[in-house]
């Protein structure tokens, strides 16, 4: 009886120590794997969607779902680290080849590749692919494509074509035709873009996606604000016959109430030629 009890104590101890060792090794492996994972991303060969569809022996929809989950995780992982997305298009292209009707994947990629990744060609390619496979399913695909052409590529004619297509589809917001009309009327570019982005912002629940759009909205609003400040600088020049040394001079002369600022960036004033500029930490190179 005593020896059996001793046996079980020894076995239990060995098991507990082994399991502890397993968990400890896994923790160490994970620590080492972090830099390794970056390497993996560079070397991982993501086969084309066509190949994966053929290789999935009829399970392409499930494979597409799994890869779609991977795409979202990939975005989240990079959003919180380097904010670079070299593989996002490739993954989403494979997802949408295996499941050409995954509208959300087109919208997700179309939006984030342009707004967050600065990968406008890839964004346009993905949205066009979505429209090709789903020509009358979702007005947002045309809307996002139009936005890319309008604001980022400055191609108003092509943008207008896509916005008009969006207006033809059911479900579009009531104000969209008015917005398109304003665009035709060559309204202030940033002003119209802010309205477009505010619409895109309402289309998502995901916090990271919302933050990406919000960063751009803040930047556009800063651009608008910079234009207003520029007018005041010009007025200062008219009154005092010289450009202000800094923003404090504008405050001291009562032209503005306080030194202008906006979240995630700052304004600059060149006293030589009076140019007001802005710098954004979150979105330094956009668009």
């Amino acid at each position: 009886m005593y020896s059996q009890k001793k046996f079980w104590i020894i076995i239990s101890m060995i098991c507990i120590l082994s399991i502890t060792g397993v968990i400890y090794s896994q923790l160490k492996i994970d620590q080492i794997r972090l830099p390794r994972k970056r390497l993996e991303e560079k070397i991982i060969y993501i086969p084309t969607g066509r190949f994966m569809k053929a290789a999935s022996i009829g399970f392409h929809a499930v494979l597409s779902d799994l890869l779609w989950t991977r795409a979202v995780l990939y975005f989240g992982e990079h959003f919180t680290t380097d904010r670079e997305y070299p593989w996002l298009y490739r993954i989403l292209d494979a997802v949408t080849t295996m499941d050409p009707h995954n509208i959300l994947a087109y919208r997700f990629g179309g939006n984030l590749l342009a707004l967050e990744g600065n990968r406008i060609e890839e964004s346009i390619a993905l949205l066009k692919k979505g429209i090709k496979h789903n020509p009358d399913k979702d007005w947002r695909l045309y809307f996002l494509l139009g936005f890319n052409y309008y604001y980022i590529l400055n191609d108003h004619l092509t943008a207008a074509y896509y916005f008009e297509q969006a207006v033809k589809l059911p479900g579009h917001p009531e104000y969209l035709p008015k917005l398109v009309a304003r665009m035709y009327a060559k309204a202030d570019k940033e002003d119209v873009a802010i309205e477009f982005l505010e619409e895109i912002y309402t289309q998502y629940n995901d916090e990271q996606v919302k933050q990406t759009i919000m960063d751009r909205l803040i930047l556009l609003k800063a651009k608008e604000q910079a234009k207003e400040i520029q007018k005041l600088v010009e007025r200062y020049k008219q009154i005092y016959n010289e450009y202000p040394e800094n923003f404090e001079a504008l405050v001291n002369k009562g032209l503005i109430n306080r030194i202008p600022e906006y979240p995630g960036g700052y304004f600059t004033l060149n006293p030589e030629d009076g140019t007001v500029d802005w710098f954004s930490e979150n979105t330094p190179n956009w668009p």
Binding site: G21, I44, L73
Partner: protein, 265 residues
């Protein structure tokens, strides 16, 4: 000594299994055919041969461990030879360990054959085709051996799982369970990512518990890195080996205890 005798007998029995030769033949065919697939790419022949060769060794090795391993104990029960064995002064843990090491010997010999075929294909390819390819930079056998070393460790773990299931379940179910563990072992890494991304503390802890308790077979997968000549630290390999040895020890203890409780009437 008894363990060694059982292991040698298990090995002799396993190499008579026709499934083993079918799977080995399949592996050899896949490795040889990888040359054809390699020719379809531009200047990547050797990489494709190595990729496919190592993948085939891992996959078919797992199938050998599963199909041969899950049948071993069941055969003894079916042919009633188990009664002769347990009536002899052989302790049950000696029987389990003997079976385990016998199966490992079989898998090890198979992997040697596969490695020889892979290296032969690479060398023949180098002599006949690759030396005419601009920028060809050699075969690089040593990194491949590192990758194969971890494939062996992965197979040792899967073999212990196969033997556990062969004792507590029927052969058919054991095959499903073992292949299930193999699949889970390769996707368990996603659990951590899902837990991290969930934003819920409950899901995070739940995913973490499963992540650390389920086998993580990705720890043994350095095939892509070795083929592409990417550095993998020795400490990574060391902890992977420690992980594998400890994990399979726990499984073997559970297997021995299960077999100890099993009654043969």
């Amino acid at each position: 000594m008894i363990i060694k005798t059982i292991a040698v007998n298990t090995f002799k029995e396993a190499i008579r299994d026709k499934v083993l030769y079918s799977l080995l033949a399949f592996t050899v065919i896949v490795i040889v055919l990888s040359v054809v697939i390699g020719r379809l790419t531009i200047g990547e022949d050797q990489r494709i041969i190595k990729d496919i060769g190592l993948a085939a060794m891992s996959l078919f090795g797992v199938l050998i461990a599963t199909f041969v391993g899950t049948n071993l104990v069941h055969k003894e029960i079916n042919r009633k030879t188990i009664y002769t064995i347990i009536s002899k002064p052989i302790r049950r843990f000696e029987f389990v360990l003997g079976k385990y090491f016998g199966l490992l010997m079989t898998i090890f010999i198979n992997l040697i054959v596969m490695t020889v075929v892979l290296f032969a294909v690479l060398m023949i390819h180098k002599v006949l085709i690759a030396r005419y390819i601009h920028g060809f930079s050699g075969v690089g056998y040593f990194p491949l051996l590192k990758a194969i070393g971890l494939v062996i460790l992965e197979l040792m773990l899967i073999t212990s799982v196969a033997i556990l299931f062969s004792i507590i379940s029927t052969p058919t179910l054991s095959v499903f369970f073992t292949l299930g563990v193999y699949a889970i072992g390769h996707i368990s890494i996603e659990l951590k990512a899902i837990g991290d991304a969930s934003g819920s503390a409950f899901i995070y802890y739940l995913c973490s518990v499963f992540y650390y308790l389920l086998p993580n077979l990705n720890n043994f997968n350095i095939r892509a890195e070795m083929v592409r000549d990417i550095y993998v630290s020795n400490s990574f390999i060391f902890y992977s080996v420690v992980y594998g040895v400890l994990y399979m020890s726990v499984i073997l203890i559970v297997t021995i205890l299960s077999f100890d409780k099993k009654e043969f009437v």
